[in-house]
């Protein structure tokens, strides 16, 4: 009889996504067999999504320290970086891939909600958001539907919440056809003496839940995120949550007002794994326990089971521990904002979580046993270099014949969905609320947002060219970090820290895990060089479908600081007659370029040329040139190569350019290649001598390649197009797909 029950329990554990060894571990921790409620708690908390069990050993290798770091990765809801003057920036990026694949509107909306709660539960008021999106083939109705839904979801949520979306990236490739990626980034500011902690301590202190009522939506969301997308995934629809941005706005105001009283011990939002996650993590951090009465949790449906209340992922909920005796003051704030709340229990000194239903204990677990860094399992996975890696390296530029008509290539590239204007998308986001977005009327490679309480601004960007990462995970990820830093430097900022969103396939596949390991190594190397520690982020495995894994996509969200607002730099050419210089060394390289991949259809090539030291040198020179006041514009060379960079600098003011190519390189490589560490700058003719003198002896190659002119794009004396034609191609591409029929 006993063995039968044992088998039955084990079966349930397996159905909940636990491994057999994990089941036995639970029995060992508890010293008895778990009940169903407890099993559900462990299954949610030990899911990949919450426990990082297959990634943590590698994540620990990333640099975490800098003198600016106030909260290190994993310690709090989000990273916290000192920007001086008594202010800090809290920022983080998170994925909402699986929900968005099934229900793009709510999936993306709740992703935005979740990341903002992480930021304001630190006591920080969000001031800017970014997003990084990846979809399949835009010519298919499926991708168009997903894109439409995701963009509307992000817009409707963020616009109503009232925090501007100031930038982002979108990339299309067939590998994302079934499994799109939706990564949302938020940054907020907080006075360093007003930072809230995600901690529970002090015996007898009351525990409050506030915000929306708890419903059956999002049950097993964390487990859902921890498996592959299949034909049956639509059956997981109940695992997708529904967002309410109005409630989020009220939560934001109520939370910040409560924190400002000084009576809040700790606060954490209810994200993946809901009540069990917040109670466990806050208790574990404070080496405390909690007694929680689940029947006091406001619910949407009657008769919700204890396990449902514990792991529901209903949105817009917060857990707060308040100083005993200060309940009235905090409740007054909740009432002011019409936010529903309930006192559901209190902190104990037992280190144990006890959950009650009508007075009876329904679950009892050591808090620490549930969490990452505590009892959650940690796995060393095996990895193996995939066969394609060496194959890709065999590519040589000589295998591709240079097309005769490069003008045609230029026109082709300007209307590639990966290169063309994303206006159709970003005009659906409120990018200006808060009146702090300095990039609206002054475009730059990264978004510049004023921290109004100070005389500084933050400079933020999200970057990852996953095609490079796929070709070479280590190089490709280093490039993602370098490009983010370059974007910040070209905008006048100083890179100071990163957050990452690691989107990969199934970690049990050794080749996928090899990509993950090498991505981490590349990130480590680059972050050390740029002195940008990793403040946290999120790992999203299982991004794969029957067609295979997505490109490894370690999205980098980088925070930079504009210490002096006079250093803000823009990317647009200002005036005909200005000189155009290329800073950095061109290469005979077309590897992994949009040109090679889309125009020639060659998928197998290595990552483009990149050398970390060369990159670093170029960035130092750009920084110095900006501060010396010698530049009129700066724009880094990235997707689409030099030609696209020049076009993007020319189009905002309807200007043109006349340039000469460089005989040392194949013309197609020079114009369309994506070798890294290059920046196009424009310089006033009166500054030419000063500029060239400044560049002498810097050890960084530079070359006068042409000048800004009116309306024409002229390459080697050949008129390629007029600026209005370029604008039509560049602006027209996305609407052509999205507004057809």
């Amino acid at each position: 009889m006993a063995t039968q029950t044992e088998d039955k329990l084990l079966n349930i554990a397996l159905q909940l996504g636990l491994l057999e060894e994990e089941y036995h571990r639970i029995v060992e921790i508890l010293g008895r067999k778990p009940n169903f409620t407890e099993l559900s708690c462990y299954a949610a908390m030990w899911s990949e999504h919450c426990s990082y069990k297959n990634s943590i050993v590698w994540l620990k290798k990333l640099p975490k320290d800098s003198p600016r770091m106030l909260a290190k990765a994993g310690e709090e809801n989000a990273g916290l970086v000192d920007i001086g003057g008594g202010w800090a920036v809290s920022f983080k990026i998170e994925s909402h891939n699986h929900p968005s694949a099934i229900e793009p509107y709510q999936g993306a909306a709740t992703g935005v909600g979740g990341i903002n709660r992480d930021v304001f539960s630190m006591g920080a008021r969000p001031i800017a958001q970014l997003n990084s999106l990846r979809f399949g083939d835009i010519s298919t109705p499926k991708t168009q539907r997903l894109l439409r839904g995701v963009v509307k979801g992000i817009g409707d949520y963020g616009n109503a919440f009232g925090i501007p979306t100031v930038g982002g990236e979108i990339f299309f490739d067939k590998c994302y056809q079934t499994n799109p990626l939706v990564n949302a980034f938020s940054a907020g500011v907080v006075r360093t003496d007003r930072v809230a902690k995600a901690i529970a301590k002090g015996k007898g202190n009351p525990v409050y839940i506030f915000g929306s009522a708890t419903g059956r939506d999002g049950i097993h969301g964390a487990s859902f995120a921890s498996k592959e997308i299949t034909k049956d995934s639509e059956k997981d629809l109940p695992a997708v949550q529904v967002g309410d941005p109005f409630m989020e706005k009220l939560l934001l105001e109520a939370t910040l007002e409560a924190i400002a009283t000084g009576h809040v011990i700790g606060v954490q939002d209810m994200g993946a794994a809901g009540v069990i996650c917040s109670t466990a993590e806050m208790s574990a951090r404070g080496e405390s326990g909690m007694d929680i009465h689940l029947d006091k949790v406001p619910t949407r449906q009657e008769g919700m089971q204890p396990f449902e209340i514990l792991i529901s992922e209903s949105q817009e909920r917060m857990l707060m521990v308040v100083k005993k005796g200060k309940e009235k003051e905090i409740e007054k704030i909740f009432d002011k904002w019409d936010v529903a709340y309930a006192k559901i229990g209190e902190v104990t000194d037992s280190k144990e979580l006890r959950f009650f239903m009508k007075g009876d204990v329904v679950a009892k677990m050591p808090a620490e046993s549930l969490v990452l860094g505590g009892g959650a399992p940690v796995y060393y996975r095996e990895y193996k270099e995939p066969a394609y890696f060496q194959e890709y390296k065999k590519f040589h530029i000589s295998q591709v014949k240079e097309p005769r008509n490069l003008k045609k290539v230029a026109r082709f590239l300007l209307q590639q969905p990966n290169i063309a204007s994303k206006r159709w998308v970003y005009e659906q986001y409120d990018s200006m609320v808060g009146t702090a977005n300095q990039s609206t009327n002054a475009p730059s490679d990264a978004a510049v947002v004023a921290v109004k309480e100070t005389d500084k601004s933050i400079v933020i960007t999200v970057d990852c060219n996953s095609r490079y990462v796929h070709a070479d995970p280590e190089q490709g990820t280093a490039i993602a970090v370098a490009e983010a830093a370059r974007n910040i430097v070209c905008s006048g900022g100083e890179p100071i820290a990163i957050t990452n969103c690691l989107n990969f396939g199934n970690p049990y596949n050794p080749e996928v895990y090899w990509q993950f390991v090498h991505a981490i190594l590349g990130m480590k190397k680059a972050c050390e060089r740029f002195e940008t520690p990793v403040t946290g982020g999120n790992v999203s495995f299982y991004n794969q479908s029957e067609e295979g894994p997505v490109f490894p996509t370690p999205t980098i969200g980088m925070l930079g600081l504009l210490e002096n607002r006079a250093w803000q730099m823009t990317l647009d050419f200002k005036k005909a007659g200005d000189l155009i210089y290329l800073i950095g060394s061109p290469k005979n390289c077309i590897s992994s370029s949009e040109y090679l991949y889309a125009y020639h259809g060659v998928e197998a090539s290595p990552a483009p040329f990149f050398h970390l030291d060369e990159e670093w040198e170029v960035q130092q020179v750009i920084k110095q040139l900006i501060r010396a006041g010698l530049l009129r514009s700066a724009h880094d060379v990235s997707d689409g190569g030099l030609f696209v960079t020049l076009a993007e600098s020319a189009m905002p003011r309807g200007l043109g350019f006349r340039i000469r190519t460089d005989k040392r390189f194949r013309r197609d490589a020079y114009l369309f290649g994506e070798s890294q560490s290059r920046v196009v700058v424009s310089v006033k003719p009166t500054h030419q001598k000063k500029f060239e003198k400044f560049m002498e002896g810097k050890g960084v190659e530079y070359r006068l390649i042409g000048e800004v002119i009116k309306e024409h794009f002229i390459v080697d004396k050949d008129k390629w197009m007029e600026v209005h034609e370029a604008q039509e191609l560049y602006e027209g591409a996305l609407p052509r797909y999205m507004e057809q029929g």
């Binding site: 616009n159 109503a160 109005f246 009146t435």
Partner: protein, 230 residues
């Protein structure tokens, strides 16, 4: 001059308006909480942008029933100044202080971008100080901004010189291409017959701070301050 900015739950341009009035224009400003019934002696009430009460029924439809709005309506009926921006404009039409309605944008999408508007009348404190020839670059950010009124109402709005602003191109030409949301007659803002209640979809408070490199919106506030008779 004392301004009062109403804060509804879901307002999200309230702080921007306060910042502009206080720090850019140097005016006295108080917040008016939606549950209050005291206007604190303000001369000029501003209903800011945002999503009051979540805009769940229809933009502005719930806000009109809030306690503070009953006072704002009395203030307006007494001849006091009221200006609604974006969601504030929607609340004014919902509460009957302004005519017409703001429907979903013609392209069915939310739109946030810089547009150009030009004054269509000089005969209000909001427009008296503006150049009648200049196209002002002011951002819009709304999903429901398409001004609509039945034929007779539209005629009366026009005949009574109630059109404050029209969408135009950078050169000041009022054209279909320059109309971002499908508003009738390119209407971006109107006033009431008594000329003390103003509504507009574009956000002048988003174009007032030099930091943002567009200060076209300042002229709107300067016009009010110059021409108001308190």
């Amino acid at each position: 001059m004392k301004f009062g900015v109403v804060v509804f739950p879901g307002s999200n341009c309230d702080e921007d308006m306060i910042y502009t009035l206080r720090h850019v224009m140097g005016q006295k400003v108080v917040k008016l909480w939606h549950k209050d019934t005291d206007l604190q002696g303000v001369d000029f009430v501003v209903l800011p942008g945002g999503f009051s009460y979540g805009d769940y029924l229809r933009a502005g439809a719930i806000a009109r029933f809030s306690p503070i709005m009953q006072e704002v309506i009395r203030h307006a009926k007494r001849g006091g100044y009221v200006m609604g921006i974006c969601n504030g404009f929607q609340i004014l039409t919902e509460s009957g202080l302004l005519e017409g309605a703001l429907l979903r944008n013609l392209n069915q999408r939310y739109i946030c971008k810089n547009v150009y508007i030009k004054p269509a009348t000089q005969n209000t404190i909001l427009t008296a100080g503006l150049s009648q020839k200049k196209a002002y670059k002011i951002p819009i950010a709304h999903g429901e901004g398409r001004f609509y009124a039945p034929k007779d109402m539209l005629k009366s709005i026009r005949d009574n010189d109630q059109i404050l602003f029209q969408y135009c191109d950078a050169q000041g030409k009022v054209s279909e291409e320059a109309n971002p949301n499908g508003s009738l007659l390119n209407i971006a803002g109107i006033c009431n017959k008594e000329r003390n209640v103003f509504g507009m979809m574009p956000h002048p408070e988003r174009a007032a701070d030099e930091l943002l490199k567009n200060t076209d919106g300042r002229a709107f506030f300067e016009s009010i301050l110059e021409h108001v008779a308190v």
